[in-house]
Every structure is written in structure tokens, then in C-alpha cells.
């Protein structure tokens, strides 16, 4: 980043959210668009990849603590395997990239670049599982998948290739598979709420919007500042459909053959999109200290006669923080003035800035400034490493509270078709309404305003449909509470 003007974000988060987002991604050095001939692909630059590594580390730790083992399956899936589960092939076929030539030859059978791996994982799980003692079997893979969607590219939200993890499990009973589905949904919720400072809603997708072949698809949904919902992680109870298609059976304690119950669950780099979109502002990226590549930047402010004492003091503090495990950057560049440095590190999303001038040295203090709101706090030099962790907690709490406020103030109710349309049209956000469970009633809303049912609360978690309520769209008996929203 060589020129001052490149640091400025010119678009407005409030008025041009899409353009603003693209500008933040580019200027904060998070991603570039793919090469010519490969629209829809992006290059994930180190600053964004470092965020992905923190999501990975957090989630992988949760997985390993709860019985998941990582594995790696081939990148390609033979067409005949993809076709063995009819709904999978219908669901994904239009989006598949096909390898047809390899090593100078035409292949006899086309190979799909994996759009998701159920079709290649299930047959191996079926080899590995023989008896009830081999269950539950839980494998996960961190990989990229390709889905050739024609929509406009939005880094981390909509790309033809994306990074994700996909977990696949097999269980003896429907109930065990359901518990697994919920456990992973809980862990996805934790990624958002405990790591990324984003509150989420949880629920099930309507039947007509389930993963192809699934019994139930559950989701965590995050509300973006432009009023649209993001499907932020999904956990599928696959029932016995996949197990039947791929002969995934086991012998029970009585030596009878039983079909296994399977699940799959995935969280992608869309989580980074939600992170960037939720907290950032017109000065650039804003990150919670949990994931920020640099948690603290120290900007020393000196004149010629104070340079030495300011730098010595700043270096000592940097070292002390580093020893305490803080990710700290001392910006002692001579060729840049403090104002430039403030702007640059704000653009890059460093959550806490330490300003250190001669006064701070004399008073044995540090001026700490919070990125999200510019709040400035004077911290004692003594115990600075302890104090900075409190500052991190404060910054995290502020970010979470702002996102929570946005979410809570944007869940509204409606009891008629026009009210749904009007409320979403005016405010965006979620509109809760009684729903008869028929796709046609969602279609009516979708056609008018491009909003859909992003979730219905899970049976045991919310039960608001009182006896006798009517579907807000058709007036027939309501069976569920639908959350309508525009979505990414």
C-alpha cells in the first residue's frame, strides 16, 4: 500500500453496502478477484487466510474434543458415484465442474470436482463400518469445493470455489444422528458467538429447501447490516437415504443387519464474509481481538529529541506483550507520520492501538484506543500485559452488543401477506409469521420481494404457533413460525 489516497474507503457502509464491502475486502488486503477466464474465483491473501486459520483452529479444537477425526478424500468424484444418490445429483448437477481430459487422454468417465463429498465418503464409511462397535463414526475434512454458480461474485459470500470443512458421521439410531446434528449446530453457534462476536439465530430450513436427500437441514443464520440474512453454517440429519444408496449398514448386538443413520455438516469461509461485513465501518476493517492477526499496534510519537526514549519505552512494552502471548506490532517506520499509521492500522482492523509519546513515557502510562469507537483509555505501564486482556474483552463485548442490537431490533412480526411484504420492504431484517408449511406461500413472497423463509425454529426451541392461528399468506391452518428475510 504505497499511496495515501489508497487508504481511504470511499463507499458508505450504510448507503452502498455491496460496494463498500468490496472496497474493504480489497483495500484491507483480504482478497483479489481471480484471473481472466475465471470470474467467480478469488485469491485469499494472507490477512484473510490468517482469519480462516483462527476459525479453523477454534472449530477443529471443538471437533477433536467431541470425537471427530480428520481425513482426506479425493478431489474428484466419478459421475457414476454422484448418480447413486438421486437427489444429490439433481441438486448439484447444474453446478458441477467436470474433468474430461487428463494426461493427454479423454477420460472414459467424467469426474466431478467435488461440490460436496457425501457421494465419495459414504462408500468408504460403508467399508469401515461392520458392527455396532464401529459406531458412531465421525470424519471431517478441511478442503475446498467447487460449485459453478452464475451469480455475481462476492468474496467469501459467493465464489465458485470456497474453503470449508465438511463433517460426515454414521450412527446406530435416528436419535443418535439427531444429537450429532444438534451438537455440530451448537458448535457453529459457538464459532459465531464466542469467536466472531456475531449473535445468530438457529432453526431448520423449510422442507423444500433442505440439502438434497436430507431428513432435516438445520442452520445458524446471521443478520447482516444491510438487513439480509446469511446462512452461516448448516448441519444435516441425512436420515437413512445416503446409507441405503451406499450400503452403509452394520450388524447390531443381535447380529442383525441394520442401515446406519448419517449426518453431514459444514461451515465455510462465508464466516469470514459475515465477520468482515458485520463489524467493519467506513474507515475499513474492524476485527474482534479473538481473531485479529495483530491485536495491538503500538504507534510511537516522537520528535528528534524524544525519539530514543519513546522508542525504548515502546520496545519494552512490545516485548512484554509478546511474552504474554499478545499479537503485537510495533510500527516504528521512520518514513510515515503517526496520522498515516493510525489510518493504515484502522483500515487493517487492529482492535487496540497504543499511542506512546514523551508524556506517556514520563507518566509511565500508555494511551489505548479502541478501534470500533475510538474510545481512549489510559493504562498504567505496570501490569500492562494483564490490562490489555481486559481491553480485548471490552472491545469484544462492544462488537457483540452492537451486532446483537442490530439483530434484536430487526426481528419483527407480521400476520398478513401485505404486512410481510411491507415490513421487509421497509426495514429488511427478519419477519416472523405463522405459516402453513406449503412452498407456494413462500413463493408468493419470493416473487414479490425476493425474500424467502430462511428458517423455522426447531420444535423444541420455540413453539409460538397457538392453536387456531392462520398462515399469514394463505389463511389456512398454520403449522410453523416462518422467519422471512432476504438472504445472501
Amino acid at each position: 500500500m504505497s499511496d495515501e489516497q489508497e487508504l481511504g474507503i470511499t463507499e458508505s457502509k450504510q448507503y452502498n453496502t455491496g460496494e463498500w464491502y468490496a472496497e474493504v475486502v480489497q483495500k484491507a488486503g483480504l482478497a483479489n478477484y481471480g484471473p481472466e477466464g475465471m470470474s467467480g474465483f478469488i485469491v485469499t491473501r494472507p490477512r484473510a487466510y490468517a482469519l480462516w486459520e483462527r476459525v479453523q483452529g477454534f472449530l477443529d479444537g471443538l471437533f477433536k474434543d467431541t470425537g471427530v477425526q480428520n481425513a482426506y478424500f479425493p478431489l474428484f468424484i466419478p459421475e457414476s458415484y454422484l448418480e447413486r444418490e438421486k437427489e444429490i445429483v439433481e441438486g448439484f448437477d447444474p453446478e458441477v465442474a467436470w474433468v474430461t481430459q487428463a494426461g493427454q487422454e479423454e477420460l472414459e468417465e467424467r469426474l466431478a470436482v467435488r461440490p460436496t463429498s457425501e457421494s465419495i465418503i459414504a462408500p468408504y464409511m460403508s467399508q469401515w463400518v461392520r458392527s455396532h462397535r464401529d459406531l458412531p463414526l465421525r470424519v471431517n475434512q478441511w478442503a475446498s469445493v467447487v460449485r459453478w454458480e452464475a451469480t455475481e461474485t462476492k468474496p467469501f459470500f459467493r465464489t465458485k470455489e470456497f474453503l470449508w470443512q465438511e463433517g460426515h458421521t454414521a450412527h446406530a439410531t435416528h436419535e443418535d444422528a439427531w444429537d450429532e446434528t444438534m451438537l455440530r449446530l451448537d458448535q457453529y453457534e459457538s464459532v459465531y458467538e464466542d469467536l466472531l462476536a456475531i449473535p445468530v439465530l438457529r432453526g431448520a430450513k423449510p422442507d423444500h429447501d433442505k440439502f438434497p436427500g436430507a431428513h432435516t437441514t438445520t442452520t445458524v443464520e446471521a443478520l447482516m447490516p444491510d438487513g439480509k440474512s446469511v446462512q452461516a453454517g448448516t448441519s444435516h440429519h441425512l436420515g437413512t437415504g445416503f446409507a441405503e444408496a451406499f450400503d452403509l449398514t452394520y450388524t447390531d448386538e443381535d447380529e442383525n443387519t441394520q442401515v446406519a443413520h448419517t449426518t453431514s455438516w459444514g461451515l465455510s469461509w462465508r464466516s469470514l464474509g459475515a465477520l468482515i461485513m458485520t463489524h467493519s465501518d467506513d474507515q475499513g476493517l474492524v476485527l474482534p481481538p479473538t481473531v485479529a492477526p495483530e491485536q495491538v499496534v503500538i504507534v510511537p510519537i516522537w520528535q528528534a529529541d524524544t525519539q530514543e526514549k519513546v522508542l525504548d519505552y515502546a520496545e519494552e512494552i512490545a516485548e512484554e506483550l509478546e511474552d504474554a502471548g499478545v499479537r503485537v506490532e510495533l510500527d516504528d517506520r521512520d518514513e510515515r507520520n503517526p496520522g498515516f499509521k493510525f489510518n493504515e492500522w484502522e483500515l487493517k482492523g487492529v482492535p487496540v492501538r497504543f499511542e506512546i509519546g514523551p508524556n506517556e513515557v514520563d507518566d509511565e502510562v500508555v494511551t489505548a484506543v479502541h478501534r470500533p469507537d475510538g474510545e481512549s483509555v489510559e493504562l498504567d505501564r505496570e501490569n500492562i500485559a494483564e490490562a490489555v486482556f481486559d481491553q480485548f474483552d471490552e472491545v469484544y463485548a462492544k462488537l457483540y452488543a452492537a451486532a446483537e442490537e442490530n439483530l434484536e431490533s430487526n426481528i419483527r412480526e407480521a400476520s398478513s401477506r401485505n404486512e410481510i411484504l411491507g415490513t421487509i420492504g421497509q426495514h429488511g431484517g427478519y419477519v416472523k409469521a405463522p405459516w402453513c408449511s406449503k412452498e407456494s406461500c413462500e413463493e408468493e413472497i419470493k416473487e414479490q420481494i425476493a425474500a424467502e423463509i430462511v428458517m423455522v425454529p426447531l420444535d423444541d426451541e420455540e413453539s409460538e404457533i397457538h392453536h387456531g392461528e392462520e398462515c399469514a399468506v394463505c389463511g389456512e391452518a398454520a403449522e410453523e413460525t416462518a422467519y422471512f428475510a432476504k438472504s445472501y
Copy 2:
């Protein structure tokens, strides 16, 4: 693994190394072969993937400590990009898998599934580098690549898709790029010597066997028990060829435009192949404690009347080890006898077995048995967690010493064509010989015995060609010491 007979390795490491290796890989649960229509691909099962995670963690730590940032680049490379560096396209074209159809359409331009990523990384590096202040630039990606080779599949050694890391750097000078090349070679050496208990040789590939377009290709080579050499990691000084092809330039301190000097370096899951092949035996997998998924297995040995006290004692010890950070498994299965358990855990490569019976409980000791050689040691119950780390060091040292003995006793010298052929034919291993640097002299050996020059020592590390020595093959003036060997 349900049946007793499945535990036995039937092939012999000494007499049928290839078949023995395949059997260990399969029976220790490390990998399965790919599906029909996808020969050459493998499924990496959790026990092997866990080994890969340890290699990753170790190497990624070294990288991050030395200025490398991870990133992620698209899986596909447009054909026109691949063609921009002439030697790359000639070197890899015969092995490329091509995506020609996607989302129901024929693509206008074929997309290569990356065989290596120089051609897509260099153009982005050229966008990111403007001035000398942006150098050095170092990015690394952990990913899989596809090379459609027609040779026989050998899990982790020869597969059409493999996992690796590829690092790519740009520097201001030739010397800086050389230092980088050597730094990464040092780190690869460390993976083998400090993590995998495998001594390696280091050197350069002959000019005619360099990475396409490279200035120098350096390599670490490991000797396998069947006398063949494995190229275990490579680090390339790419000179300015790639930078010129992709406009990777920078302005120096005098504002003049200069071409950057680049490097690339990669280590793949072949390291797992070398690991498995080197240490394992006719009882199955042998692993050093540094990477073993379970470092200690506790096998309690009880009769009905001693079961409770033996299990209580074993559980206490398991807990204490776990608290000390030891990866420990207590095998308290009721339905298996100790002998079965011994065999199973030996097959799986657990480096230290604790045997605990009533005598051990009474004497407040533990019997520790080393996997590689069956050596048995009595350890005091007190301070058991400290003592076990010493056992790990001993086991590691034994494995390393055995591999070192194999390496050192299999480097021989030869001064004539017939001596090279005879020595490799009889013993395998490396044969050092003076060489004139011409490919034709290597070809003569290759044609007769399928051995090649796997490396020449680096200039500053070994210099054995005395004035006046003659090429062992053609008799002309020798310029280098060539290490001939059969190789994987």
C-alpha cells in the same frame, strides 16, 4: 478390525518390500485405494491424516517463525496462464487434468487442475510487489495438487492427487533468493531428522533434472530399506525466469525497475510414505513418539479377583499421563485378551506399551515395552509422567540410529561404469562417483539398471572432486560428485 487373522502382516519387509508396504498401509488403517475409475487416487484415513497434521504443525511453525504467511490460490489455472512460462507448460502438460465443462456449459478456455501453482501465484505476487520495501514476499499454501502420472499407485509415494505445501517467495537479489532456498531446505531436513527420525542427504538435482524453468533445484533425499532413494522435499531457486514471464518487478532505492528473484519449495505427504517405510516391520507400523497418534497404550492384565485393583491403578496412570500432555490410550476392552491387544497396538505403531498386572500394582511399578525392539523397562509409579518422556527419547534415538546405520552403510564409492552398475545392482543404496556433468553419462547407467543421479552435493557443503579426476562413465574431466541410486 474384527477378525484376528486380519492383524497379521503376511508379507516380508526384507523380501517383498513393495507388497509389505501396501499391506502395512492397509492393515494399519492408513489409506484405501480410490474408487473404480479413479486408479491412482487414495483415501487418507484418520490415522494417516493425523500423521500429516503433525508434519503440518511442525513445518508450519518453522515457516511462521521465519516470515512465511499462508494464503490460498484458486484450484484451477487457465491454460493461457500455464503457457506463459514455457518450461512449466512443457514440464507439466502431459500430466495435467483439465476441466472443460462446468455448470452445463463447455468452457471457452480449458482450466488446469493445479499441478503446482507458480503460474497463478506469480501474477498476483506481481500485483502485490511494487517497491523494494515489499520484499521479501513469502507466501505458502497447504493444498492438494493433481499430476496424472500413469505409473503404478503406491500410497503416499505415487498418487495422482497428493497433499503438500508449496511456498513461493520473491526477493530483491539472487543471493537473497539463494539464502531462502537454503533456509527451506534446512527446514525440510529438520522435519526428517527432528520429527520423523530419518536422516537425509542434501544436495542439488543435476541440471537436466531441475524443476522446469528453475535456476537450481535442491533436494533432501532419504534412503529407504529397499535401497531406493526418495526425493523427500525440494527447494527451488527459480532465478528471474518466472518473474520475467509474469512481470514480477520492483522499484529499487534509486527508483529503477528491477526484476525480482523467486523461489518455490514443497514438501508432500511422501514424507508419510518415507516414515512408514523406514521404521515399520513385519509386525506392522512403527512410529516415533513425536508423531504417533497414541504415544502410550496401557494394557491392563487381570483375573476376575484382580480386575478392580488393576483397572483403578491403570486409570490413575492414564489420567496422570494425559494431564502431562501425553497421548495415551487405556485399552480396557473386556472382550479382547492381552495378547490380541498387544498385536493390534503393535500393528498400529504405538511406540510405548505399558503392561500393568497385579504384580505391577503391588510393586508400584509399570512395565514399559518399546515397540521397535520389544525392550522392556520397569518404571517407578512415582514420577511416571517424567519417566515416560525419557522413554520417548530413547525410542526416538533407537529409530534414528537404525535409519542412520542403514544410510551410512549404503553410501559406496565407484570409479568406473561397471563398478557403479555392479555396486547398485548388488547392494542398492547410493554410489558416489566423479561425473562430467553430462546427461548422457547418467543415461548410460539409467538404461542398464534404472538408477539415476539423485543429487550432487552443494558446492559449499562437499567438494570431493580433486583436480584431475575423471568421470566414472566417460573418462572425461569430472566436475561434480554424483550420487547414483534407484529412486521412487
